[in-house]
Structures are given as structure tokens and as C-alpha cells.
Amino acid sequence: MLRALRSAAAGMRAQQLYLDTTAHNLANVNTTGFKRNRVGFEDLLYQTIEPATGAAGNGRSAPLQVGHGSRPSDTTKIFTQGDSEVTSNPLDVLIEGDGFLQVQRIDGTTGYTRDGSLTVDEQGRLVTHQGFVVQPEITVPSDASSIAITADGRILVEQAGQVGANEIGQILLARFPNAAGLVAEGSNVFRDAGVSGDPQVGVPGENGLGSITQGALERSNVQVVEEMVNMILAQRAFEVSSKAVKAADDMMGIAANIRPA
């Protein structure tokens, strides 16, 4: 009977994480480049109380097994494309398709982001709005009068006293065989935790990488309606497991009163 209590409690814990994740998705509905999380659940181990013994006579054709509830098995990022929003800001870039911008994280390692709201730092380097330097480093000259970013990531600037545009660098994108294995680090940045495979860095628009659109941003791919439905499911699933706790408790109470005082 205690097993029923524990199984139900495990179910309630799992649903709590479901609700936590839903709340996090909803809180990020307006976060640029945010990818929604999806929780996966799995059933816990089963105890075989009596094994199957074959169908003949008094035997069991199927085993008697009792499971121990459920647990969240993984939270995967769903990397579907978010809606695009035209901002007309020349340093906003939208990745249309697969791929991440590479940035240098504070500890020197490479981070990956879909948030293309770029700006320049005091040295003229292209940075994300959190201040992470875009890799490979691109320095915009201080006298640049206009900036253009092509679909394949080349950055062209016009400078005072020069005729025509100068190419000052090219944004490269990275993609992963198993993007779901990336770890979200907050600040819209992902980290390679060694299970996503080797990043393939390349020119936007080639080898399956997405192309770049200047003056637009990718919004989150959170669908509010879907998250609201998930919230209802989490709440109700939590509720039914709590009923199982009560039923188990009732039965233990009854058993304790087989012989009333």
C-alpha cells in the first residue's frame, strides 16, 4: 500500500515539473529566439511480484507486476522556427532555418544563440545585447555610415570618403546533429554539453544551414494556447494522483480498523 502512496507522490512530483516548465515557457513568450521546452515522462521501474509461468493449468500467462509511478525523463528544446518580427534595426539578424550564432561566453567557451539582436561594444565588435562577442569576431569601423548584412552573412559597410561598400567580415553559423542535447544556459544562450555532436560551422545558406535576414528578429516559438492546455493537463494529472494518495490512505485506515478498539 505504501507503494501506491509513493507512486502517486512520484506522479505529483512529475506533474509539478510539467507545470514549472509550462510556466517557464509562458514567461518567455516574448523572449527573442526562445525555444520552448517539452517535458518527457517515463514510467519508473516495475517490480515483478509473480512471474508468468505459462498458460497451462493454474499458471499465469502474464506476470503480476506493479510499477512505481512516473518521473520526468527529459526536457527537450523544440527547435521549430519562431515567428519573425521586422524591426528595421540594421544590426538585428534573423536566422531563417537551422543554425546558431556563435558567441564567446564569459568563461571563454563558445555559446550558441538564436537571438540575433546584435549591437556593437566600445571596441566596435559585434556583440549580442547581453555583451557576448560574436564569433568569429567582427569589428565595425567607427566611421561606418551604413551597414548591410547579406543572406550568406557577409557584412558590408560604407565608410566616409570611400566609394562602394567594404566587406568587414562574415557571420558563420553552427549547427548540431543533436540540437536537443544542447544545454540552455539562460540569457538565450546554449552550451555544448558533449552530447549534441560536433558543431558544423559554415556559411549561412549552405549545407543545410539557415540564411540570414537583416532587420528582423525571431520571436519565441511558444504557442500560448498550447501552453494553457498543458497547464490544464498538468493540474488535472496532479489532482488525480492526489486522489490516489487519499484512496491509499483510506484503505490503510480501514485496514487499521479491522479490529476496532
Partner: protein
Amino acid sequence: MLRGIRANAEALGPAMRAQEIVANNLANTQTVGFRQDRSAFHRELEDAGAVGSNGGTTGAGGSIGAANALVLAPRIDLTPAAIETTGDPNHLAIDGAGFFAVQGEAGDLYTRDGGMLRGPDGTLLHRSGAPFLGDGGPIVAPSDRAIAVGNDGTVRAGEEIIGKLRVVRLTDPNSLHHVGQGLLRSEAGAEADPESRVLQGSLEAGNSDPVTNLIEMMSLVRAFEANQRAILTQDQSLGRLLGWASQ
């Protein structure tokens, strides 16, 4: 009288166990591809020889409780559940009665949960980390192309066919048992199931239905209570008898 108490007491254990199974079903209402257990009780004659001798003393044939054992015989419910469209190309669902085959450490395992992950080398993995089986073993997807899965389980990377997921029908569904993590093992074999269709971008929910499980739960509590009351009544009768005899 003592036999009656024992018969009622014997019903308590299986009812508790059945409640544990219901609690597990209810904990897994949101588990993708979960297959719930349905409890069924049946009475089994423990000893056929005892029936005749009991017949003489009770005058009611072999139907007296203590000669029978109450057996809890759960079955895995294989009813398909609702299919949810997720839009993620790594999500697969089966429309039909088939199962995906995955490579377990000790033989093939079966699952209805088609949430794929990729290994670092591109191998298509089940949530538990076990590789999905294709016709020629695990399927390794190239990293530079998106994969498309056809209704017959054919996996393509771009135009190139890189494998065909094994979708099987189990020859003896009764021999299935749970190993956890959404996986089932079968002692009997499995054969290819050409009738089931694989749907990419969808996941199948668990088939653990809260309504029937809650009703099952309530009736188990009441059955448990009824047996407890019966024990109580018989105990009181015995007490009265003993009290009368000692006067």
C-alpha cells in the same frame, strides 16, 4: 466462521495490490506511449481434492471461499491512445497496433513512445538511450541533413534512404511485461507489421485514462471496506458465541 474470516482477509491483499497498480496508472497519465495495466481478479481452485471433502461438511459444494485463492491477474492494456501533433520532426507515433523495436541490453524491447533523440554520432535513440532498430540494426542519421520518416517507417536523409524502422506486431501480447522507461519486453516473438503507419511530427499519449482509473480506485476502496466490515461482523459473532459458551 474462521474460514469466512480467512476468505475475507485474503481479498484484502489483492485489493491493495490492485490499488498500487491504479496509482501507477494515474501517475502516468502524461507519460508518452504508456500502456496501463488493467486489474482483473479471478478465483482459482487451490486444491481440487479439497472440494469433495468440503462438500460433505458445508452442503454447498466446492464454492466455499477458503478452498479458492483470489488471484490478481493484471493485463497490459494495448488500446491505442490519442495522437498529439507536436510538429517536431524527432517525434514519431504509430497509427495502428504496432510497436517500435529498440535494442535493449538483453534482447529487443518494444515501445509506443517514438520520441527520438540523437546520439553524438547521429544514431536514432529512444528516450531511454536504447537505439531504435531498423531492418539492419540501429539507424545512424547523417548530421548535415534533416531526416524524414515515411508512413512505412522508411527513414530518409534528403533523398537518400538510410534505413527502415522496424515496426512490429507481437505474436503473443499476453506475454508482454513492463521494464520501465516506456519499454516492454515480450517472451514470444514479433513479426513485421505492415498495417501500422508511422506518423512523423506526432506523439502518442499514454492510454492511462483518469476516469476509469478513478472509478476503479473508488470501487477498490469500497471492496476493501466491505471485506473489512465482513471480518468485523464475523469477529463480533464469534465473540458473542464465546461469551455465551463461557456463561
